[in-house]
């Protein structure tokens, strides 16, 4: 569901003034009851479609249950986890996931920051450029994956055409997606392409909050642009940057669609989420697949805790 995550709730940078009084007396109790009544339907939905299945996933991960099988499931303790962590194939999916996450987030951030800084300056047509940047973000991942698959085609692809026939950077065509050395980097490039604009827009919003007075003051102090960037821009952008980083990390860690559409279950690019789906559905191994799913969940959970720490939910 990486699509959903393209929307990052950012922290409130400045605090809203709170004027509501603490609940007290009968009026307070009535309000409280109303509040719970209003929240209840949503809470029930969350409980039903997320919490209950999550508990089930934990439970299944300790069994050898198979989907649609006549075999009776039994409890196997931590066997699924031990097997997974011992298995080269699974360890390499973990490694691919880490490589994917780290490199795509790294490049997205660097490129996103650069683009945000460029667009932050005043120039004619700035609105147009900003709109153009929404295009990759709006394109469904499946569509961008098949677009790039075609662009990467070893014989007819435009990437090879540009690099070999036009720019003469390479002297022969490369099978970008088939060659195990280039397949994962090629997919990472697609992800970077798709999410960099999003990153840039988030950072742009952060930049716009920095007051220009600070820059003027530093100019008076004789700071040059490089010093300005490191002494003012970066520190003040830090909260927005940190949130965007963690958020993208979470999103990249569970990557499924771009990999699945471009390479299906090919071993050299398989990530943990693709592996989990293969085990759960294609191989009908609910137990083992659930164990892989729990591992994803736990990894992401750590980041979620970090993330929620960064966001002040309540200004007491």
């Amino acid at each position: 569901m990486s699509a959903s995550a393209d929307v990052a709730p950012l922290p409130e940078v400045s605090t809203a003034t709170q004027r509501r009084e603490r609940p007290a007396g009968t009026l307070g109790r009535r309000r409280e009851r109303l509040a719970w009544l209003l929240v209840l339907p949503s809470l029930l939905v969350v409980l039903l479609v997320a919490l209950y299945p999550l508990i089930q996933t934990f439970r299944l991960s300790f069994t050898n249950t198979r989907l649609a099988s006549a075999r009776t499931p039994r409890v196997v303790g931590f066997d699924n986890y031990v097997d997974l962590l011992r298995e080269d194939a699974f360890r390499s999916t973990l490694w691919h996931t880490v490589v994917f996450t780290v490199s795509s987030v790294f490049f997205e951030t660097i490129l996103g920051l650069a683009i945000a800084l460029v667009i932050h300056s005043n120039f004619r047509g700035r609105g147009g450029v900003r709109t153009a940047m929404l295009v990759p973000w709006a394109i469904p991942t499946v569509v961008s994956a098949s677009m790039w698959q075609w662009m990467y085609h070893d014989v007819f692809g435009v990437v090879n055409d540009i690099l070999v026939n036009r720019l003469h950077i390479l002297d022969q065509k490369v099978a970008w997606l088939a060659n195990p050395a280039t397949a994962l980097p090629a997919i990472i490039a697609v992800d970077v392409w798709k999410t960099t604009p999003f990153m840039a827009l988030l950072l742009l919003a952060g930049l716009q909050l920095i007051s220009t007075d600070i820059y003027e003051a530093s100019l008076v102090d004789g700071a040059n642009r490089v010093q300005q960037f490191f002494q003012i821009t970066l520190p003040l952008l830090r909260p927005a940057l940190l949130v965007a980083l963690i958020f993208r990390t979470l999103d990249a860690f569970r990557v499924f669609d771009v990999i699945y559409v471009m390479k299906q279950f090919a071993p050299e690019t398989m990530t943990v989420a693709v592996y989990a789906r293969q085990q759960l559905i294609d191989l009908a191994k609910l137990g083992r697949g659930s164990a892989a799913a729990v591992i994803i969940f736990l990894c992401i959970f750590v980041f979620v805790v970090l993330y929620t720490r960064l966001i002040k939910v309540e200004e007491m």
Partner: protein, 311 residues
């Protein structure tokens, strides 16, 4: 480097005439070079973000016989609409399109309804447990769908402690599961919207004797309409683009969405690889989104950074 130059430019622009009049003026030649480099950079950014989509459009309009020409041509010499004709005459694709619309609209409607009620309580009423709920909602916005894929699958088939009908391969199954990522997000963003409204409004109304719910329906909800539009739009895009659940919980065009249809698209006629048709389908599926984004770009930008610029 380029980025710091840009920062400085802003500053200079902000300072206006004073800067220009300042003694430390740069020689014009380097200014021109800088300007050219800056616009080259802008051009490169535009090329980088737009070229792949441009290429998809060109490929979808190219004759099969020319599609596999090497070297490729970057401008179709003749326009061939046959791939679009094929896609639009393809019953399966049209069904998938309808499924996508029904599922996305259904998801958004439910998420907005339930979400704005909850957001009203969370944004306007102080009550015990509010912080805990906000934390739950926030962490839910990042819930990895794959973590519950297997057990959701069992539930959809009706295999859990409740006796529920088998919803496998129905649009309802998708609508319900899509709430996992649309509902928490809706609640979170709408809470920000409600919170940002001035408190006097509602106090005045309450003093007048109007109940909380009347305040909600008659005063706050109309005021939150722009927020609803933004949130709904973002939730729609998220639902429209979803792939994993749609792939797993459907098996034919009764419920399959366009994303899955595209991933399984292949050529029908002989002597062709499916790329041109796939590109045509991709362009068709993306155009409505791009149109929405262009029309509502300001709202989307605001929504994307919800909270960041509010206060």
């Amino acid at each position: 480097m380029a980025s710091t130059a840009a920062t400085a430019r802003t500053t200079r622009a902000a300072k206006g005439l004073e800067t220009i009049a300042a003694p430390r003026r740069r020689p014009p030649i380097s200014k021109i070079v800088g300007r050219i480099l800056f616009w080259l950079l802008i051009l490169f950014i535009l090329f980088y973000t737009l070229f792949p989509f441009y290429w998809a459009i060109v490929s979808s309009l190219t004759f099969d016989s020319q599609l596999f020409n090497t070297p490729a041509s970057y401008w179709p010499s003749q326009i061939d609409w046959s791939h679009y004709a094929y896609v639009l005459r393809n019953d399966d694709f049209l069904k998938a399109l309808r499924n996508s619309v029904v599922v996305s609209v259904g998801t958004v409607a439910i998420a907005l309804l339930l979400g704005s009620l909850a957001a009203f309580a969370l944004g306007r009423i102080q009550f015990r447990g509010r912080t805990a709920i906000l934390y739950i909602i926030l962490s839910m916005t990042m819930f990895p769908g794959v973590a519950i894929l297997g057990s959701l699958f069992l539930m959809i088939r009706g295999e859990w402690f409740l006796h529920t009908p088998n919803l496998y391969n129905t649009r309802i199954a998708l609508i319900v599961t899509y709430l996992i990522f649309t509902l928490p997000f809706t609640i979170w963003v709408m809470t920000q919207f409600f919170k940002a409204m001035p408190g006097e409004l509602e106090e005045a109304a309450l003093v007048d004797g109007a109940g909380y719910m009347r305040v909600f329906w008659q005063i706050l909800l109309p005021l939150a309409a722009p927020g609803l539009v933004t949130t709904g739009l973002l939730a729609f895009i998220a639902a429209w683009n979803e792939f994993l659940f749609a792939l797993t919980f459907t098996n034919n065009y009764d419920a399959r969405t366009v994303q899955v249809a595209i991933s399984q698209f292949s050529g029908r006629t002989q002597y062709e690889l499916p790329y041109a048709n796939r590109m045509a389908a991709s362009v068709l599926v993306t155009l409505p989104l791009i149109a929405l984004v262009l029309i509502f770009q300001r709202k989307i930008l605001a929504g994307l950074t919800a909270g960041a610029v509010k206060g």
